[in-house]
Symmetry: C2
Subunit: 434 residues, 2 copies
Amino acid sequence: MSHPTPQNAKVVIIGAGFGGIAAAKALAKAPVDITVIDRRNYHLFQPLLYQVATADLSPADVAWPIRSIFSRQPNVRVVLSEVLDIDTDAKQVVGEESRFDYDHLIVASGAHHSYFGQDAWEKHAPGLKRVIDATEIRKNVLMAFERAEISDDPEEQARQMTFVVVGGGPTGVEMAGAIAELAHHALAKDFRRINSRSARIILVEAGPRLLSAFPETLSDKAQKSLEKLGVEVMVGTMVQDIDAQGVQLENTFIPSACKVWGAGVAVKDVGRWLDVETDRSGRVAVADDLSVPAHPEVSVIGDAAKVAWKENADVPGIAPAAKQGGKYVAKRIIAALQGRPAPAPFAYKHAGNLATIGRNSAVIDFGKFQMSGFIAWWIWGVAHIYFLIGVRQPIIVAFSWFWSYVTYSKGARLITGLRPLYEEIEPEPASKRG
Amino acid sequence: MSHPTPQNAKVVIIGAGFGGIAAAKALAKAPVDITVIDRRNYHLFQPLLYQVATADLSPADVAWPIRSIFSRQPNVRVVLSEVLDIDTDAKQVVGEESRFDYDHLIVASGAHHSYFGQDAWEKHAPGLKRVIDATEIRKNVLMAFERAEISDDPEEQARQMTFVVVGGGPTGVEMAGAIAELAHHALAKDFRRINSRSARIILVEAGPRLLSAFPETLSDKAQKSLEKLGVEVMVGTMVQDIDAQGVQLENTFIPSACKVWGAGVAVKDVGRWLDVETDRSGRVAVADDLSVPAHPEVSVIGDAAKVAWKENADVPGIAPAAKQGGKYVAKRIIAALQGRPAPAPFAYKHAGNLATIGRNSAVIDFGKFQMSGFIAWWIWGVAHIYFLIGVRQPIIVAFSWFWSYVTYSKGARLITGLRPLYEEIEPEPASKRG
């Protein structure tokens, strides 16, 4: 069954994130030929990406080659390509070099960060979605200290050592805590002219509290933990402008060389590809079986899909939701191939919300059961390592992590800049391209 | 003694490679103020860099933040800066932002790769000196397989899967062996349309044999080991041209998308900085105490120095030589500060030459004692891990390495491109710079 034959149904999956990989894995024994298309050659474990940004982990610790994930699954073909469009009439995904026929299409292309229309802010305050973002932020943070060390101007030193994190969701909370620890512990002995402990880390949130998806008590605990780490938390504060010099708030300008964006995400392209309406953040509203009403052979899962969940809330854009969506669609496709009735509508099971605050504290919301502090941090850590894909990495990540925790040393503290691979590939004469 | 005071002698060290770090460490207890200037924020363990190129290790495994190396040595100040010039009259090193006074200057700026005047070859056949080179080569190698997988043209597939390594020294031998193993083992299950085992790896050497610094018997053994791995070795073969399409040899053109340069190194800038003559490869001839005759307060060590060793041979450009030079100069400076006579002239102690050929074989030349094969490979591995600086990394490198050896899997197999940090730093208004 598992050897692809020409008459197998063709499944194309766009995106090798949590959703796309779960779908492909769940189809491992189905009589289908699967094509997984991604613009990068690696799958990213996004929940730990902020630790790359703060030099606790290396990119290779949180990213896996997609090919190696499927090396033992012969019905999967991996294609490294940008997706330009979807031809829903011809049932083809349009890549850069070729078109890919599908009988079933699963769109799992995820979300990018969004600047609410202020795209000019992006170059001053990078967000955290890709490996390149994490290494960019790492470089910005470390270079700020380097520049402060070189500078003779106290005002400029203060500006270099003021870090503003915009957005009080899990990413912003995690980043602010991690930068505070980097400044106050890991770098404390490294500089001679500046005192890295005097760095200011400011977390700005427009809403009334941090971690709005969590219960209020946990928001309070998160804020207290951050303040204990030396983070200045400003809730109910709108950012009005961001430029190279700093951040303009309603009443004050904060001179800051290094800004990080954690405020919002949006979906690109999917509405255009499918020629369907989207909501404000670009998500495609799907039916209760995750298919697109106008194109039942197309499903959208993960961050790119808008799926109703409970009173006025949609299924959240987190990894477990994407995985559940991927598995559900695979099950539906298998049922259709076997001529069985479609499974019951997709029902999202919410396991909980987790966020970490530095190396000593986390907040966990399992609904009825909530916890915070040190034990919560260990549960967070074990849960994340447990869910890592791959074999070599979990052990190394666990070890890096444990070592880093014990020593406060930052082995991965290199200033390098990663760029998306396509920008760097030297174009070859068209006549020679395949 | 170790707390710097204004009247301390000022030692400036250019370059935080093996030589510069050894010198600074050896001056830890001397009454001197040390400034270590490097254009990057990390020290690189170059002997393992080829393993980054072939996706066995991550950049953070072979590179350490210079600041953390000196975090417990209070008489060292680290400055991240390019060196523009040396003002030998004023005794100042001219950086980008400031000038650095010295009483003693140690130039340990190393070597870059050299294309023997054919600089246009560089973009087609990158060499292996910096982290960016290693990740560039990794990307080129992996992308060649990706392109072959996409291509429908058998000729183009063959071109993508033909790898040419130029230069039969240790770097070239190591690279060719590692690419052969990547193609024939690690990637073997990853592709569906191409057979990575059919890749050709060609090692081209202009001289009559590989590893010319080794005895002939070891050269033969190295060649046999490479051939067993599937590498085609072409000795006595000159490269006449390299372009995007391939490599032109005397009698034949090899279509090849991915080329690696391991043929030569040269020193840049040092002669110009000091306004002294250099040899053809840019090295500065130093006195037998490693000082520059025209400027006795300036010493040159490591790859940048030309130091006589034995009958018609100079001290080789390898890490142990740089370290010994650094320690020697530190000793000489301490003697001068204490008013003691200068130590005896620098006498290089040659421990031996090592080169590895894939994961099963190495050649070691300890002079009277020579060995090759599997045991030699383990000695090579243990020796290199032993000499790694840092604490966290050796354990992780050892583990990564062992795991990679056992499983043939390439966890670090990510396609990313690293660039030197200065290119990516957004320029700020001059008025705001310190």
